[in-house]
Amino acid sequence: MKAYSGADEETLRARNLLKDWAGEGFLTEAQYQLMERETVCDLRRTNVFLRAVLFLFTLIIVGAGLALFFTVFLSRPSEQTTGFFLLIFAAASYVAAELAVSQARLYRYGIEESLAVCSVGFLCGGIGSFQTSEYVVAAAGALASLWIWHRFGLVYAFLAAMIFVVWLPGYWTSSHAAQHLIVAGFYAAGLVAVTLTRPRQRSIAEALLWLGIYLAINLRIFSIGPDAHWWGGVKNTTEFSRPFYWSTWVLIWCLPPVVLARGLRKKDRFVMAAGGIAAVVTLFTNKPYLEWPRHTWDPMLLGALLIGIALWVRRWLASGPDGIRRGFTAQRLSGKDKQWLSAGSAALGIASPHAVALNPQSSPEVRFGGGDSAGGGATSDY
C-alpha cells in the first residue's frame, strides 16, 4: 500500500540521523564517512531548493501540457467532455507519479510530488465538470489527498485533505454552529483513526488534527490582530446560540493544556508545538471572545509571558542531572536545529521589523516612519 518500503525509509532515517550527529560533533568525520557508506539507499533525493524548483517546473509542464491538449484537439468542448479528459489527465498524472517512484526511485524529489498534486487537482476539476453536487468534489479531493498522503507520505497532502473537509459542511447545512461541529467531528474521527492505525507520519498528522479541532471550535480565530475586520471574521456573536458560544470558549481553554500534556507525555515535538500554538492563539482571542477592549500593552504582556516561560523552562531543565529532566533537555542535540535557526534568523530578521518595530500611523498624533526606519526600500520598491 505504501510507495516506499519500511526498510528504505528506515535507511533514510538512519542517514538523516548520521548527518545530524556528525553536524553536532557526536561523530568524527572519518566515522561519519564510513557509516554513511554502509547506509546506502537506492532512493533518489535532492535538497530542499532543487526539490521546490523541480516541483514548480513539473507543475508548469503539466499545466501547459493540459492547456495545449485542449487548445489543439478540442475546440469549445462541452463540460462533460472537459470533465472526461480532466479525469484522464488525473489518471495519467497519477500513473506518472507512481512510475517516477517505482522506476526512477524518486523520493521527495519535487517531480513525483507535483504529479501527485496535479492528479488531485485534475480529479476535482473533472468531477466538478459533471455538474455533480459540489460537496462530491470536496469529498473526492479529501479522499484523493488522503490516499496521496498514505501512499507517498506527503504531509501537505494530509493538510490538503483537512482543508477539503472544511468545505464539506457548507453544502449540508446553513447553520454556522453545525458547520463548526461537523468539521471538528471529522477531525476528531481522523484523530481516532490515526491513533488506532499508527501510520508512519502519525506525529505530524496528529498535530495537524489537534490544531484543526482547535481552529474549528475557536469562533474568534479571525479576530487576531488589530485589523481584524480585514479578515472577514465573526463580527457579532448573535449568529451562534449563547450556550454554544460559551461552550467553545471553555473548550479553547481546555484543549491547549490537553494537547500540550499529551505531547509532553508522548515526547512528541509536533503535538507539543500544536498545543503551544493553540495556547498562544487562546491568549490572543480571549478578549475578543469576552468582547473586552484590547489594550496597547497586551502584546507586551504576552511577549513577557512567552519570554518568562522560555527562561523558566530552560532553567528548570538545566537544574536537572546532566541538564535533563523527565526525558527533556534544553541543550541542542541536532545539527538541523542549528541550520533552522541560522536560516530562520536571517529571514525573520528582515521580515519582522516591518511588522513590529515601527508600525505606521498607529495614532494620528504620532506618525512613525511608515515602516521605513527599519528598512523597506528593498522590498517595497519593486
Binding site: 535538497n47 531548493f49 507586551m300 534544553a330 536571517a346 518595530a357 508600525n359 521605513d372
Partner: protein, 314 residues
C-alpha cells in the same frame, strides 16, 4: 536494518565506542528530547510581541505619558539590553562564536529593535534632523552592523541590511520622477555594495559564516531590480543581458559552493525573465503553450542533471 541494530553492529566492529553507541542509541530513541528549537521560537515570538506592544503603546499614549517618561523608559530598556550583552559576551573573535546563553541573541535583538522604536519616537516628537530619515537609517544600519559583527548575530545583521535598504529606498523617495528607473539603479547599487561588502569581509576572515546572509539578500534584490528592467516594453536588451549574467553567476556560485538556493534563484528568475520576453514576441495560444511545455521540459532535464550530479542529499 533499524538504526539501533546498525549502531550495535558498528560498536561491535569498533567503528564507534561503547559510550558513543549508548549516547546515539538514546538520541535515536528520543532520549532525551531536545526542546532547544522550541525555546528559541518562544524567545523570538516573545521579543517580537513585546516590541510590537511597545511601539503600539508608545505611539498611542505619547501625549498622556509625556516625552520624558517614554524616552526614559526606552533608554533604560536599551541600556539594560546593551549592558547585558557587553557584560556577558566572550572576547571578540573573527571566527564563529557561540552565544554565551540561550537568551543572549534575543536580548541583543530586543535592544536593536528598541533602538529603532526610540529613534523613531525621538525624530517624530523632537524633529532634531528635520525629518531626514536617511541619516537615522544610515546610522542605525552602521550600529547594527557593528553589533552583528561584535556579537555574531544574524538577526541583527538582517536588521542592518534591512535598514541599509531602507536608506537607499528613502533616498529614492526624494526623486520626483522616473521612480522605476531610479529604484532599479539604487537596487542594483545596493545589491552590489551588499554583495561586495559581504565578500570582502568573508575574504578578510571576518565572520565568514555570515556571508550567506549578505549574498542571499543581495541576490534577491539584484534579481528583482534586473527583472523590473526586463519587464520594460522598451530598451530591455541591456537588462536581459544583465539578467543572463546574473543567472550565470548565481548558478556557478551555487554549484561551486553547494548553495542550492542560488541555483534556484538562477532557474526561477532566469525563466521568468526569458519567458516574459519570448511570450511577448509569440503570437497565438498554441505557440505560447508549446513554449512553456518545451522550455519546462528543458529546465526540468537541466535541473535533474544538476541535482543528480551536485545536489543529491536532502
Amino acid at each position: 536494518m533499524p538504526i539501533l541494530a546498525r549502531l550495535e553492529n558498528w560498536k561491535q566492529r569498533g567503528v564507534i565506542s561503547p559510550e558513543q553507541q549508548t549516547l546515539l542509541a538514546g538520541l535515536s530513541r528520543g532520549e532525551p528530547v531536545s526542546v532547544f528549537l522550541e525555546l528559541n521560537i518562544l524567545l523570538y515570538a516573545g521579543v517580537l510581541a513585546f516590541v510590537a506592544g511597545l511601539g503600539w503603546t508608545v505611539s498611542t499614549w505619547s501625549q498622556q505619558l509625556g516625552d520624558v517618561l517614554i524616552l526614559s523608559g526606552l533608554s533604560i530598556l536599551l541600556a539594560a539590553c546593551f549592558w547585558y550583552c557587553f557584560s556577558r559576551a566572550a572576547a571578540w573573535s573573527p571566527a564563529e562564536t557561540p552565544s554565551p546563553s540561550l537568551i543572549f541573541d534575543y536580548v541583543l535583538y530586543l535592544g536593536a529593535l528598541t533602538w529603532s522604536v526610540e529613534l523613531a519616537y525621538f525624530e517624530n516628537q523632537l524633529h532634531l534632523l528635520s525629518g531626514k530619515w536617511d541619516l537615522y537609517l544610515l546610522s542605525s544600519a552602521a550600529l547594527f552592523f557593528l553589533l552583528a559583527y561584535r556579537f555574531d548575530n544574524r538577526f541583527v545583521l538582517s536588521l542592518a541590511l534591512s535598514a541599509l535598504a531602507g536608506w537607499f529606498g528613502l533616498t529614492i523617495s526624494h526623486w520626483p520622477s522616473h521612480q522605476d528607473a531610479e529604484y532599479r539603479k539604487y537596487g542594483i547599487l545596493y545589491s552590489l555594495i551588499v554583495g561586495g561588502a559581504g565578500a570582502i569581509l568573508s575574504r578578510l576572515g571576518q565572520k565568514p559564516h555570515l556571508l550567506g546572509t549578505w549574498l542571499n539578500i543581495a541576490a534577491n534584490v539584484l534579481f528583482w531590480a534586473v527583472l523590473s528592467g526586463v519587464f520594460n516594453r522598451e530598451s530591455y536588451g541591456v537588462w536581459f543581458v544583465a539578467l543572463l549574467a546574473a543567472c550565470g553567476a548565481s548558478l556557478a556560485w551555487g554549484i561551486a559552493c553547494r548553495e542550492f538556493s542560488f541555483v534556484a534563484y538562477a532557474a526561477v528568475y532566469g525563466y521568468v525573465g526569458v519567458s516574459s520576453i519570448v511570450v511577448r514576441h509569440i503570437n497565438g495560444e498554441t505557440a505560447v503553450l508549446t513554449y512553456f511545455v518545451v522550455t519546462g521540459v528543458a529546465m526540468l532535464v537541466m535541473l535533474v542533471a544538476i541535482a543528480r550530479r551536485f545536489g543529491r542529499e536532502a
